[in-house]
Amino acid sequence: MSHDHHNMVSVSVTVNGESRTEECEARMLLVHFIREKLGLTGTHWGCDTSNCGVCVVSVDGQPVKSCTMLAAMADGAELTTVEGLETADGLHPIQQGFMECHGLQCGFCTPGMMIAAKSLLEQNPNPTEHEIRDGLSGQLCRCTGYHNIIKAVQFAAEKMSASEEGASA
């Protein structure tokens, strides 16, 4: 096994709008890079096997399981983590939905769930219940039974399409 300089990499990302560059081992997974190097612990680290989806972050606009991507692979990418959902106008409609509809209990799955839900609504602003369940099928929640998560996403969808109409009116 070689331990030359190729085992270390420099990774530059834009995370939630901020440019960051950090050195790390080539084998460092993106989830640990985000938590340990960028100090953003809102992204959770769960099953380690790309099953549970708590580590989902947005990479160049697409949700990705960050336990199954090397930090090195994200060099040059634009990342959005749960910390990046809130804007100057306040909580993102998805965050409001999870709050209003009681879309979380322990909260462990919530960051990944919200990032995946945001992407779902960007692709499909008015999803059916089935489409929401299918779209979030890579995210596990052991508390809610999913019912209130579905309601939270529906709340966000309505809120976002209402503000869209308001904006175009």
């Binding site: 096994m1 070689s2 331990h3 030359d4 190729h6 085992n7 990499v9 081992e25 080539a26 084998r27 460092m28 997974l29 640990h32 380690d48 096997t49 790309s50 099953n51 989806g53 989902v56 697409q62 949700p63 990705v64 399981k65 199954t68 991507m69 090397l70 090195a72 692979m73 995946a116 779902l120 299918d134 779209g135 099928s137 890579g138 995210q139």
Partner: protein, 291 residues
């Protein structure tokens, strides 16, 4: 915490560069595309390459889906979600979208690639069965040029392909022929899991007769992911229920499932037959609907 063993990391900037790196770094180097099969294996140290060559920068060069003459060409770096969303794929080969809908979950499909799945050569891999049934060919490139291999000859065993140490799978070509209908059926323990068993069916029809057929099977120990006996039972026949049931029985008899945590061998054999019949009925209906 599961972490891969240390490795040297290289990033390929072109297909030629990737081949050059493979030659330079030797047989302990591996290409990584989406990484959703390789990285989990590296975390539990089932795979321990000394070097990883990241080919994600080749997504533009190898990631397109197009028609070339009488073939649908799928670049090896095509992400699963892009295959699922492609109108060209839906128009010609709905079987690939049937299969994509049940490969992992939408987030994993954002990263995983068609070429990566084929080269991982998991015995339960869905596209291997579907593309084998479609009589697709794989284009493999090395420093001395490209060669073409039928997908049904790509796999030489579990996790083993004919792609050489210093070669890269660049594209899949699926022949487009008239009168084609295709479908994929899978049973899994839970959403997003590997198949307990799955079946791929393709028929080419002319004047109410099946002129050619492809029957693929995943997760049930079928040699090269196909059932030649089932295909022989279909060729030259009208697609009656009797013919379909006979072909399904041939597929069930020909495969070689083993008992594991996903179920007993006999259950999987039963599924192989039943899913072959269901896929064939849908493939025939699609072929007739398209005529």
């Amino acid at each position: 915490m599961q972490t891969p063993a240390p490795f040297g990391y290289e990033r390929a900037t072109s297909v030629d560069h990737a081949i050059q790196l493979l030659e330079q770094l030797g047989p302990e180097a591996r290409l990584v595309a989406g990484g959703h099969s390789l990285l989990p294996m590296m975390k539990i140290r089932l795979a321990q390459p000394e070097h990883l060559i990241d080919i994600n920068p080749l997504a533009a060069e190898l990631g397109s889906i197009s028609i070339d003459g009488d073939s649908l060409v799928i670049g090896a770096m095509t992400r699963h979600n892009d295959l699922l969303a492609s109108p060209l794929v839906g128009e010609h080969f709905p079987i690939l979208q049937d299969a994509e809908r049940v490969i992992a979950d939408p987030v994993v499909r954002n990263r995983g690639t068609v070429g990566g799945s084929l080269c991982q050569a998991d015995p339960a891999e869905d596209l291997s069965a579907a593309l084998s049934a479609l009589h697709a060919t794989a284009t493999i490139r090395g420093s001395s040029g490209s060669r073409s291999v039928p997908v049904r000859e790509l796999h030489v065993g579990p996790y083993e392909t004919v792609v050489g140490d210093a070669e890269i799978l660049t594209e899949i070509r699926v022949p487009i022929r008239n009168g084609c209908g295709s479908a994929y059926e899978k049973v899994e323990r839970r959403v997003g899991d590997w198949a307990i068993a799955s079946a791929a069916a393709v028929v080419w029809m002319d004047g109410g007769i099946i002129t050619d057929a492809g029957v693929g099977l995943a997760a049930v120990g079928a040699d090269h992911f196909v059932s030649p006996a089932a295909e022989a039972a279909l060729r030259g026949q009208q697609p009656t229920e009797d013919v379909i049931v006979a072909a399904a029985a041939a597929a069930a008899a020909e495969c070689n499932p083993s008992t594991d945590q996903r179920g007993p061998a006999e259950y999987k054999r039963h599924l192989a037959g039943e899913l072959t019949a269901r896929a064939l009925r849908r493939a025939v209906a699609r072929a007739q609907g398209g005529q």
